[in-house]
Symmetry: C2
């Protein structure tokens, strides 16, 4: 069920500074920032291969990463996102096994325009896991 | 300079339980545990594509992840490892730009039998970044 790691997300207090650090110090290509009001974040992606590094800065008054940054003011590793072929089937299987889904359990549309869900960190050793639906391409199917 | 994400490491208090959780609940294949005395950890890898999830359990009396687990008793995201083509060149460039290398600054041999170094989290928004030397194959060169 668990597909490739799509991205690793870092919560940072200053997106421009984090982007510059990746670009100038680590020599990486970083995408232009994108505001995601539904998720309460501004994001930019470090393009370093099939698995991207997602930089998250809080956006708006109710950003879901505000509490994380209050606990970790300099920033830190926030979540890991895996691709799955069928998000609703994955959710239903997880729920039947006792895992909890954050929010109302319904997929939202994520930064890549695809449905996503988050699993409860208490069910996975304190780690916040995002699942993103990525349909296999015909070449992979 | 910054190559693909080789793995994401999770520190967990109970490796067998974390392995079972990935296998049984997320349907992932997990490698056999491997003790790395030089690194003070026992590791197992979740095989979910080119970027692996590395599960780390403390080993021995002076494990470098003991302090992390004291702060995060249930476990959590510990570090992110990127591949680089030339580790010493990457280190020298980073040091010349003011970044700090953990330990004595000399590469150790990591879980894949390749040289690795860790960058100081204070230079990268609280995130612990590992660099692992992976020479490009002739097909990629």
């Amino acid at each position: 069920m668990l597909g490739p790691v799509n991205h690793i997300a870092l919560a940072v207090p200053d997106l421009a500074e984090a982007m510059a650090r990746y670009r100038d110090r680590l020599g990486a290509h970083v995408s232009a920032p994108q505001v995601l009001p539904d998720h309460g974040v501004t994001v930019a992606f470090v393009e370093c291969g099939p698995t991207k590094v997602e930089l998250l800065e809080p956006w708006g008054d109710a950003s879901p990463i505000a509490a994380f940054l209050a606990r970790n003011p300099t920033g830190g590793l926030h979540h890991i996102c895996h691709e799955v072929g069928d998000l609703l089937a994955a959710r239903d299987r997880l729920v039947s096994e006792g895992a909890r889904i954050l929010g109302d359990g319904k997929p939202k549309i994520g930064a890549h325009g695809r449905p996503v869900l988050f699993l409860h960190p208490k069910d996975f050793f304190g780690v916040l896991i995002e699942l993103e639906e990525v349909k296999p391409t015909s070449a992979e199917a």
